[in-house]
């Protein structure tokens, strides 16, 4: 019984030699790097399609490549390409001018259709319960450039029932806005440190505790959606140039058997607080279940709530030092529901290297309790401007569809 039960996951099992590998993949923020330690030679493709109620859509093709160089060393490459539109809201005229007005938004000066690419090569060493990894992230889009070295280390002890992991990353970013905002922007630095402690309690129970420290400085704004003052006059965005954040998260993974099939409930609760006054709580639950050999489904529910930054207002008097209309710095709550299906192709396909071994499909739907901007003035005051281009009686919605293929090489 046990053998048949284990076999249900054989074709998808990648990690597992070391608890450290598994735990870090579970808990740290760079799972690709750590999972590479437990993976064989694999090539995975994903295509993500995103849409939201503001008319934004985004296509992101991506792939990752894991190559086992030896029993101890492995190499990983992760590649993404974004093609996004509506990142700047369509505030100006559309389809006019020499470029059909597709290049720059007439009001904000931001690009309407934009591409971004990112690369993230990494190398992982794993031996006798120690997993060490390093990676070098690079991304570029017309107005943004980023470089980020990162490293992580984890080791098992207590007969490999306990894992302690630490991680470090430093971003060297440069933001050069276009159009009317070309004078703004600048360099941004982000340093993040993380520590994780995890413990296997029973053969089906894993507990984890993660702490993160994130420090940012430099140009931390995003000027394309400017705030307005009480007279409706557009202002230049201004936010503090330093920000420090702490986050603590607790995780519990509890497996169970439904007949002979393995399933699990995975709960993650995270508290976040920063020096701008934003505090947030995230509760994320995933329930996964095998229903056939090598095939499982997952359902997910996530609740997120944040307070706003201390300086964020819907309209400013003009006397304030800081002003922003960036929705990320305003209070809101959101709910996510999602589902995923992942199954193996027929085993005989594995004999042919060019045919995929697995496929998956996932959809997440998000509702956020921010309403659209009113069209006209309210009580004689100018309209609130938070760049939410849907009705004032409607909530923000977004959907993300992801399709994937995995080749075991």
């Amino acid at each position: 019984m046990l053998k048949s039960f284990l076999h249900s996951g054989t074709r998808v099992r990648r990690a597992g030699r070391f608890l450290g590998t598994t735990v870090l993949a579970l808990l740290l923020q760079t799972p690709s790097l750590v999972q590479a330690a437990g993976a064989g030679n694999t090539l995975a493709f994903k295509h993500e399609y995103f849409w939201d109620r503001n008319g934004v859509w985004n296509h992101t093709p991506a792939f990752s490549f894991n190559w086992a160089l030896s029993r101890k060393w492995s190499f990983n490459w992760e590649q993404e390409v974004d093609v996004v539109t509506g990142a700047s809201r369509m505030l100006g005229a559309d389809k006019v001018g020499p470029f059909g007005d597709r290049k720059l938004d007439a009001v904000s000066g931001a690009s309407k259709v934009e591409t971004r690419h990112s690369e993230n090569p990494g190398i992982v060493y794993s031996h006798k319960g120690v997993v060490a990894g390093a990676s070098f992230y690079h991304s570029r889009e017309p107005d943004y450039f980023s470089l980020a070295p990162a490293a992580s280390l984890a080791w098992d002890f207590n007969e490999r029932n306990t894992t302690l992991g630490v991680s470090w990353a430093q971003f060297f970013d440069d933001y050069r806005p276009f159009g009317a905002y070309s004078g703004q922007g600048g360099k941004k630095r982000i340093r993040s440190l993380g520590a994780t402690l995890a413990q296997s309690v029973t053969p089906l129970t894993l507990l984890g505790l993660t702490g993160s420290y994130i420090s940012s400085w430099g140009y931390l704004g995003r000027p394309y959606n400017p705030p307005v003052d009480i007279n409706g006059v557009i202002m230049i965005e201004s936010v503090p140039d330093r920000r420090t954040a702490l986050a603590v998260a607790g995780q519990i993974v509890q497996g169970y058997h439904l007949g002979e099939k393995l399933g699990s409930m995975n709960l993650d609760v995270r508290r976040f607080q920063d020096t701008w006054g934003i505090r947030s709580t995230t509760a994320d639950v995933k329930i996964s279940q095998y229903f056939a050999e090598g095939a499982f489904f997952r359902i997910r529910g996530r609740y997120y709530n944040q307070t706003g930054a201390l300086f964020a207002k819907e309209a400013y008097s003009g006397a304030e030092k800081y002003h922003t209309a960036d929705i990320r710095f305003f209070p809101f709550s959101s709910w996510l529901v999602g589902a995923k299906l992942s199954t193996a192709f027929p085993e005989s396909w594995g004999e042919f290297m060019l045919l995929p071994d697995r496929w998956d499909i996932k959809y997440d739907h998000v509702i956020r309790n921010t309403r659209g901007d009113p069209v006209g003035s309210v009580d004689g005051r100018p309209p609130r401007v938070l760049y939410q281009l849907y009705g004032p009686d409607e909530y923000y919605l977004q959907g993300t569809l992801m399709l994937g293929l995995v080749f075991n090489l």
Binding site: G9, R13, R17, L19, T21, A25, L26, L27, Q29, S32, L33, K46, E48, F50, D52, S64, E78, V84, A87, S118, N120, Y144, S146, A148, N161, L164, A169, K188, Q199, S200, V201, P203, L204, L206, L207, L209, G211, S212, I214, S216, R222, Y224, L246, V253, G255, N266, F272, Q273, D274, T275, R279, T282, S288, F296, Y304, L310, K321, Y322, R328, F332
Partner: protein, 82 residues
């Protein structure tokens, strides 16, 4: 103008986290052992919070940049595709 900073609360949060980690380390190392042969399930994909690394990387971009949840994940650098 300097904005008021609720930093004392953050310091308290950090102290609580360190205390929790210390307590956890003490408790965890004293926990009953799970033999290696019985830990097979713990590395199964259905037991992993993020069994798909590439999916995790894409999600890490989506939450802070699309939904706007700055505190929901650590991803805050690297541009936004916008």
């Amino acid at each position: 103008m300097k904005i008021p900073i609720p930093w004392k609360k953050s310091q308290r949060l950090l102290k609580m986290a360190l205390l929790g980690a210390s307590f956890g380390a003490g408790v965890f190392t004293g926990c009953a052992m799970v033999p290696q042969v019985e830990r097979e399930y713990l590395s199964d994909p259905v037991m992993l919070r993020q069994e798909d690394a590439l999916e995790g990387a894409l999600e890490g971009h989506d939450f802070p940049r699309r939904e706007g949840s700055v505190g929901g994940s650590s991803g805050s650098g690297g541009g936004c595709g916008c």
